[in-house]
C-alpha cells in the first residue's frame, strides 16, 4: 500500500473507460441487487399491489406463494394484521433507501468539509477537528446515537440527522490524510504562487482530487447507514409507525418466528440483498477509482 503513494494517480479517464468495458461479475451482481430496490422505491406507488396499511384480521398470516395455504393475491403473504407483505416491502424500500441516501449526503458533506479544512489548514484547525474525531471514534456509533435518541424525539428527521452526525468521522480521517499529501504537490504550489485564494484552491484544485476516495467511502457509508437504520428501527428507536421500513417490519416479525417465518425473513433478505449490492459495487469502484484504498 505504501509503495504506490509516490506513483501517478490511477483513475485517469482513459483507465476508467477501459475498466468500464470489462466490469467484473461481482460488480454486475451488485448493480442488479441495487437497481431492483432503487427502481421499486422510485415507482412504489404504481407497483404496490395493495394498500400497505390496510388492516384485515380475517386474512392475517397468509404464507407466501409456493407454501401451503397461500393466496395468489398475496404473493409474499400477509403479516399479523393481514397487511400485504409485498406492498409493505415496496413501501419500506422508500424509507430505508431514503434514510441511507440522505444520511450519506449529510455525513459526506460534514466529513468532506472537516477533512479538507483539517488537512489543508493544519495546525490549530487540524488539532481541533482530529481531537473531536478521536473522541467520536472511541464511542461505538450506535451508542452515541442512543444518547441522542434519549433526549430527542425519534422520527425520520431525527434519524437522518443522527446518522449523519455519527458517520462523518470516517470521511474526515481519510480525506484529511489525502489532502495532506495533495497540498504538497506542484499544482497546488503553482496555484498559490499565482495568488489563487485558499477557498478556490480547496474547491477547484484539491476537492476534485479527493473525489475518488469520497465516492468509495460514500458507497461503504450507505451500507453502514442502511444497516444502522434497520437496527435502530428494530430496537424501536428509529422509524416510527405508521411509517414503514425494513428494520421496523422485522420488529413485529420477531414475535412470530414460531409460526410465520416470512415476517422476519423477507425484510431481512431485502436489507441484506441491498447492502450486498452496495458492497459489491463499492469493492469494484474502489479497485477502479482508487486502488490505494485496498489490496
Amino acid at each position: 500500500m505504501t509503495e504506490s503513494i509516490g506513483l501517478p494517480r490511477a483513475g485517469t479517464p482513459a483507465r476508467s473507460r477501459k475498466a468500464l468495458r470489462n466490469i467484473p461479475f461481482p460488480a454486475i451482481v451488485g448493480m442488479v441487487l441495487l437497481i431492483v430496490p432503487a427502481f421499486v422505491a422510485i415507482f412504489a406507488p404504481w407497483i404496490m399491489p395493495h394498500d400497505p396499511a390496510a388492516i384485515d384480521p380475517s386474512r392475517a398470516l397468509i404464507p407466501p406463494l409456493p407454501f401451503e395455504g397461500s393466496d395468489p393475491a398475496y404473493l409474499l403473504g400477509t403479516d399479523n394484521l393481514g397487511r400485504d407483505m409485498l406492498s409493505r416491502l415496496i413501501d419500506g424500500s422508500r424509507i430505508s433507501l431514503l434514510v441511507g441516501v440522505l444520511g450519506v449526503v449529510l455525513a459526506g458533506t460534514i466529513g468532506l468539509a472537516a477533512g479538507l479544512l483539517a488537512g489543508y489548514y493544519g495546525r490549530f484547525v487540524d488539532a481541533a477537528i482530529m481531537r473531536l474525531v478521536d473522541a467520536l471514534l472511541a464511542i461505538p456509533g450506535i451508542l452515541l446515537i442512543l444518547v441522542i435518541l434519549g433526549v430527542v424525539k425519534p422520527g425520520l428527521t431525527t434519524l437522518v440527522v443522527v446518522l449523519g452526525l455519527t458517520n462523518w468521522v470516517v470521511y474526515a480521517r481519510q480525506i484529511r490524510a489525502e489532502v495532506l499529501e495533495i497540498r504538497e504537490r506542484l499544482f497546488v504550489e503553482a496555484a498559490k504562487n499565482f495568488g489563487v485564494s485558499h477557498t478556490r484552491i480547496l474547491l477547484r484544485h484539491i476537492t476534485p482530487n479527493v473525489m475518488p476516495t469520497f465516492i468509495v467511502l460514500s458507497t461503504l457509508s450507505v451500507a453502514t447507514i442502511i444497516i444502522t437504520e434497520s437496527s435502530l428501527s428494530f430496537l424501536g428507536l428509529g422509524v416510527q409507525p405508521p411509517d414503514v421500513s425494513w428494520g421496523l417490519m422485522l420488529t413485529s416479525g420477531r414475535d412470530y418466528i414460531t409460526n410465520a417465518w416470512w415476517l422476519s425473513t423477507l425484510p431481512g433478505l431485502a436489507i441484506a440483498g441491498t447492502v450486498l449490492g452496495i458492497l459489491l459495487l463499492g469493492d469494484w469502484l474502489r479497485d477502479t477509482l482508487d486502488p490505494r484504498l485496498g489490496v
Binding site: P140, L143, L146, G150, V152, L250, L279, V295
Partner: protein, 305 residues
C-alpha cells in the same frame, strides 16, 4: 518506552474530557433533564422545584463545572429507574457484555485466520473466490437479523439451543455466532490481503527453495509477519463489536449493557446512558493504548513516535 506510555496516557485526558463534554451538551442543552426525568405530566411547580434542587438554574458554566467534577469522581447521579448510582449498575452489567464480546472475537479469529490464509494460498482460484464471496455476504447481513434467523433454525425448528436468556454455555452459543460473523468477515479479508502481500516476497520463495514444508513456510515465515496488522485491526474492531453487542443482546435477552442501555434510552434514564458511554469510551481507549504498547514489545521495528 516509559515516556511513550506516559504521553499516551496524557493524550487520553482531552479525549475523555471531550466525550464527557459532548454528552453534557446533549443532555443539558439539547434535552431538558427535568422534563426527561418527570415525563410530560409534571406540574410547573414540581418542575421548578426539581430544577432548583438540581442546580439547573445556575449559569451554564457553573453547571458544566459541577458536571465535570462529578464525572471525574465517577458520579453520574442515581438512575431514575433503579434509584441506585448509575455507574455501579453499569459496571454490574459489564461482565456479561465483555464475555459476549470476547467470545465473539475469539470465534471470529478461529474462523478468519485459517480462511484468510487458505484464500491467500490459492489466490485467484476457486477457494479464494469462495472465501471472498462468503465474507462479503457475511458483512452484508444485519447482525440482529442473523440472530433471529439462527434462533428460528437452531432453537425453534431444530430445538438444539435455547431461544434466549443466559446462564449456560448453550445460551452463549447463538449470540456469539451472531456477533462474531461480521467481525470474522472483516478479519478474513484482512488476513487474506496481508498474506497475499507477504507470500509474494522473496524470503518466502527462498524458504520454499530450501525445501521447507508448505505449512511451515506459510505459518512460521508468513503468518507470523501478518500477525501484527491482524491483531491491530482486531483491536480496532472491538469498538464496532461493542456496538453490535448492544443490538445482539436485545435479540437474545442477554443481560448485559446493551439491554440496560436500550431500556434506559426508552425510559429516558440519562444517568445510566452517561455512565455507559463513559465506561465504554474508557475501555475502547484503554484497549487501544494497551495494544499499541504490546505490539511494540512484540515487534521492535514498530516506531512509536
Amino acid at each position: 518506552m516509559g515516556y511513550y506510555v506516559g504521553r499516551r496516557l496524557l493524550e487520553v485526558v482531552p479525549t475523555l474530557f471531550l466525550i464527557v463534554t459532548i454528552v453534557f451538551f446533549l443532555v443539558y442543552i439539547v434535552g431538558d433533564p427535568v422534563a426527561l426525568m418527570l415525563g410530560e405530566n409534571a406540574t410547573p411547580e414540581r418542575i421548578a422545584a426539581i430544577r432548583d434542587a438540581m442546580g439547573l438554574d445556575d449559569p451554564l458554566p457553573v453547571q458544566y463545572w459541577h458536571y465535570i467534577v462529578s464525572a471525574v469522581t465517577g458520579d453520574f447521579g442515581d438512575s431514575y429507574q433503579y434509584h441506585e448510582p448509575a455507574l455501579a449498575i453499569v459496571l454490574e452489567r459489564l461482565p456479561a457484555t465483555l464475555m459476549l464480546a470476547v467470545g465473539s472475537i475469539v470465534l471470529a479469529l478461529v474462523i478468519a485466520i485459517p480462511m484468510g490464509v487458505w484464500a491467500a494460498m490459492h489466490r485467484g482460484g476457486a477457494v479464494d473466490h469462495l472465501v471472498s464471496s462468503i465474507s462479503v455476504v457475511a458483512k452484508a447481513v444485519p447482525t440482529f437479523w442473523l440472530g433471529i434467523m439462527l434462533i428460528m433454525l437452531f432453537s425453534v425448528n431444530l430445538g438444539w439451543l435455547p431461544v434466549s436468556g443466559s446462564g449456560t454455555w448453550a445460551h452463549l452459543a447463538l449470540p456469539m455466532i451472531t456477533l462474531g460473523t461480521g467481525t470474522a468477515a472483516e478479519i478474513t479479508r484482512l488476513v487474506r490481503s496481508s498474506m497475499v502481500e507477504i507470500l509474494g516476497q522473496d524470503y518466502i520463495r527462498t524458504a520454499y527453495g530450501k525445501g521447507l514444508r508448505e505449512s511451515f513456510v506459510v505459518f512460521k515465515h508468513g503468518f507470523s509477519n501478518a500477525f501484527i496488522p491482524v491483531a491491530s485491526i482486531t483491536v480496532l474492531q472491538f469498538s464496532a463489536l461493542l456496538g453490535g453487542a448492544l443490538v445482539t443482546e436485545s435479540v437474545f435477552a442477554w443481560p448485559g449493557l446493551g439491554q440496560l442501555l436500550v431500556k434506559a434510552v426508552t425510559q429516558r434514564d440519562m444517568p445510566i446512558v452517561q455512565a455507559a458511554v463513559f465506561v465504554v469510551a474508557v475501555m475502547v481507549i484503554g484497549l487501544s493504548i494497551l495494544s499499541d504498547i504490546s505490539f511494540k514489545l512484540v515487534d521492535r521495528r514498530i516506531n512509536l513516535d
